[in-house]
């Protein structure tokens, strides 16, 4: 409360160009109604320029008043002569305001990292923090990373893809892991890596501000009070078939037509116009699984054996770090039938190495995984991703 009042005072000070050097805030306690009346009388003493922060109410409630430096001596003499008890709450208001200003400035600095080195990966972040991170990453690595805005969410948020550029020269000096990790260096020598960190920013924002368990997009459905479409049932692969719902109120509502959601359409357009993606990985939680197509049919994919073996390699590498156990297989066998899913579409576009990760855990915390598991999850998942990227790189098609 004190901070809030100080803040208000500060605002006024800044606006009015006033300072409060030497001002004190006194807390006056009345013993009875008579004393209370005496305090009330002080409100009339205009020449004292008293500023009542908490005015006279009843005997049980103390009165807080800011006294300007020039009135201090007279006010205290007055109070003492009336035997009104008081405490000095704030010795020097200006000093306190200056301290608080410094505190706020340094807190603001900590909250918003100035560069990606000081970005706290062990915490969950808001959508604006993630957008800032993306811009910082690009700014710090202009030759390596660029940002492509592939579209807008329903509510107008940018859908950003970070492109990690393949390099032509082995002599290029680049930040962090690149250059140190020879497998990654070899890949980036020949291939670009694209990352879309938040695919459903409207939903993401909604989980922070309204409903932590929200799954879908935030596009209203005409004729229904229920909002949103499941973006992993909205793709044109087995669309309309079993494995998704036709009910807007359902968590697996497919939408009124394939690619109806801008979040999905943007990726579809991006992938098609690029025309040369060789691998596509969709990352979800939870269940600890590595899945390959199909979800909409039990018909195995043509590359079933290869995808199965690669998944085995990937989850073995993943487990090597912390022992985290993943299951793997086609979507429809391993988890459930799901139609209109992302990687079914990407596979049917000819992107052979199409995989979905379901990250930690297996249900104990489920969707609300403690932040202290963020980095271990990322570290182990990276090993699986490397296995997939490495295989993709070494098996051109």
């Amino acid at each position: 409360m004190r901070g809030l009042i100080a803040l208000a005072v500060l605002f006024v000070a800044v606006v009015a160009k006033e300072t409060f050097e030497g001002h004190q805030v006194l807390r006056i306690t009345a013993k009875d109604e008579a004393q209370l009346a005496l305090i009330k009388d002080m409100e009339e003493m205009v020449h004292l320029q008293l500023d009542f922060w908490r005015g006279v109410t009843d005997v049980a409630t103390p009165v807080d008043v800011r006294v300007p430096f020039h009135s201090l001596q007279s006010v205290k003499r007055h109070l003492e002569s009336l035997e009104l008890e008081y405490l000095v709450m704030i010795q020097d208001l200006q000093v306190m305001l200056d301290e608080e200003k410094l505190e706020m400035e340094s807190a603001a600095r900590v909250a918003e990292p100035r560069n990606t080195e000081s970005f706290d990966f062990s915490r969950y972040h808001t959508i604006s923090e993630i957008y800032s991170f993306q811009d910082m990453l690009v700014a710090e690595n202009p030759n390596l990373v660029s940002k492509i805005v592939i579209g807008q969410s329903y509510q107008g948020r940018p859908l950003n893809v970070l492109k990690v550029n393949k390099t032509h020269s082995k002599h290029t000096m680049i930040a962090s892991d690149y250059g140190r990790d020879s497998a990654l260096t070899a890949i980036l020598d020949k291939m670009d890596i694209f990352v879309e960190i938040v695919t459903n920013p409207d939903g993401f924002y909604f989980t922070h501000n309204s409903n932590r368990m929200w799954r879908k997009t935030r596009k209203p459905n005409p004729g229904s009070s229920c909002v949103g479409v499941d973006p992993n049932r909205n793709w044109d692969a087995g669309f309309g078939g079993a494995g998704a719902s036709g009910n807007p109120c359902s968590e697996t509502y497919r939408g009124e037509k394939a690619h109806s959601e801008p979040e999905v359409k943007s990726i579809v357009d991006f992938v098609k116009s690029h025309g040369n993606f060789k691998a596509f990985v969709s990352i979800h939680s939870y269940s600890q699984m590595l899945l390959y197509p199909y979800g909409y049919t039990t018909t195995p994919v043509k590359d079933q054996a290869e995808l199965h073996n690669l998944a085995n390699k990937a989850i073995t590498d993943l487990a090597s770090l912390y022992g985290t156990r993943y299951r793997y297989g086609s979507i429809i066998n391993t988890i459930y039938q799901a139609s209109g899913g992302t990687i079914d579409w990407t596979y049917n576009q000819g992107i052979k190495y199409s995989y979905t990760f379901e990250l930690r855990d297996t249900g104990r915390y489920g969707f609300i995984l403690p932040a202290n598991q963020i980095i271990p999850t990322a570290q182990e998942t990276w090993l699986a991703l490397m296995a997939i990227m490495d295989h993709t790189f070494k098996n051109p098609y």
């Binding site: 969950y124 989980t207 922070h208 309204s210 409903n211 932590r212 368990m213 799954r215 009070s225 229920c226 909002v227 499941d230 309309g240 078939g241 079993a242 494995g243 719902s245 036709g246 009910n247 109120c249 359902s250 968590e251 697996t252 269940s287 049919t297 039990t298 018909t299 156990r325 299951r327 793997y328 297989g329 429809i332 066998n333 391993t334 988890i335 459930y336 039938q337 297996t362 249900g363 104990r364 915390y365 489920g366 969707f367 609300i368 995984l369 403690p370 932040a371 598991q373």
Partner: protein
């Protein structure tokens, strides 16, 4: 008027549960095995026997009306993997809710990594938590080693499983054999489970439970907490036992609600309040969010339960709360 026909197909037979909307007709509930057709002949994959399904006449008017009329539109709790087809049969406009490829239920030796065995094993987890769970003992499914499923005439489907379970709090793993019977679709009976494990209750939790029980009994003010864990997976250490109690109590619901087409986990304890009770146990009222994996729905339940070290957790009342589409759980809804 629209006939709404729900079909639950198991193996070779489809049991048709027909309800009529918008009319004063008696309800038809028929378990006569009928075969059912759509416009195309279904060619299920190699695994399951070929089924050609043709709609015959709906026969028999038996039983008393017990199912409420529902609008032609599929409601939010309709089977998540169903698709509604409009078709005409014998001059009647029929809305048919077909179930998916799951119609061909996995039978015989099960792949332990595929979902049928995994879903059944999860039910065993819920059963173990109901039987043995406490603030200091919680079970999680560790691994399915092998499984087998078969139809049991007139009873449903029986699963036999070899699994490993993990006692989460003390981090021990245990091998178990389990047998469970899923009731026939359409019947309310919940699954029946039998489990035997090598040495399930390895670590004694008596001392910890007694200490906690005494602490709860002697509370000057009744405990309450909300959002366990919070949005970031965090909770106060003091609230952990309450979270565990919520999980154990929820396991009763999850056990009761589980079918071969569901996989339940408790997502969060929205709130939990200690109520006044006698000295023999402590009593709680809680609001939990359950996550059903197959439909991806978040389902709200209110539970009234007691706990004491000798008796464990006993659920006195459970109430499913209405589907709330956009809602945020209000704290301490009492």
């Amino acid at each position: 008027m629209i006939w709404t026909v729900s079909t639950f197909c198991s193996h070779l037979f489809c049991y048709i549960n027909a309800t009529l909307t918008g009319g004063a007709f008696p309800f038809l509930r028929s378990f006569t095995p009928v075969v059912f057709s759509s416009i195309v002949v279904l060619q299920p994959p190699a695994m399951s026997p070929s089924i050609i399904i043709v709609l015959a006449v709906l026969t028999g008017v038996t039983g008393s009306p017990s199912v409420a009329t529902s609008p032609a539109a599929v409601d939010a709790t309709a089977h998540p993997n169903s698709v509604v087809e409009e078709t005409e049969i014998f001059g009647w406009q029929v809305s048919v809710e077909k179930e998916a490829e799951e119609d061909a239920m996995a039978t015989g030796e099960l792949n332990p990594n595929h979902y049928p065995a995994q879903r059944a094993a999860k039910v065993v987890q819920h059963y173990l938590n109901v039987q043995y769970g406490s603030p200091f003992r919680l079970f999680g499914l560790h691994k399915v080693h092998s499984g087998n499923a078969e139809d049991v005439a007139d009873s449903g489907r029986k699963y036999q499983l070899e699994i490993s379970v993990q006692e989460i709090i003390n981090n021990t793993t245990e091998k178990c054999s389990a047998e469970l019977l899923f009731g026939r679709a359409g019947e309310q009976r919940s699954s029946q489970v039998q489990v035997s494990c090598e040495e399930l209750l390895k670590t004694s939790t008596d001392a910890q439970e007694d200490a906690l029980f005494r602490k709860y009994q002697m509370n000057q003010s009744l405990l309450s907490a909300e959002n366990l864990p919070d949005s970031y997976g965090h909770m106060e250490p003091d609230h952990q036992p309450l979270w565990h109690l919520g999980i154990v109590a929820s396991s009763s619901v999850m056990l009761k609600e589980s079918t071969e087409n569901t996989l339940y986990n408790m997502a969060q304890v929205a709130n939990i309040i200690q109520l006044a009770s006698d000295n023999k146990q402590v009593k709680f009222d809680c609001h939990v969010l359950l996550h059903e994996m197959v439909s991806q729905e978040i389902i709200h339940w209110k539970l009234l339960f007691t706990w004491s070290p000798p008796d464990g957790v006993k659920v006195l009342q459970m109430e499913k709360l209405p589907h709330c589409h956009d809602c945020k759980v209000p704290p301490n809804t009492n």
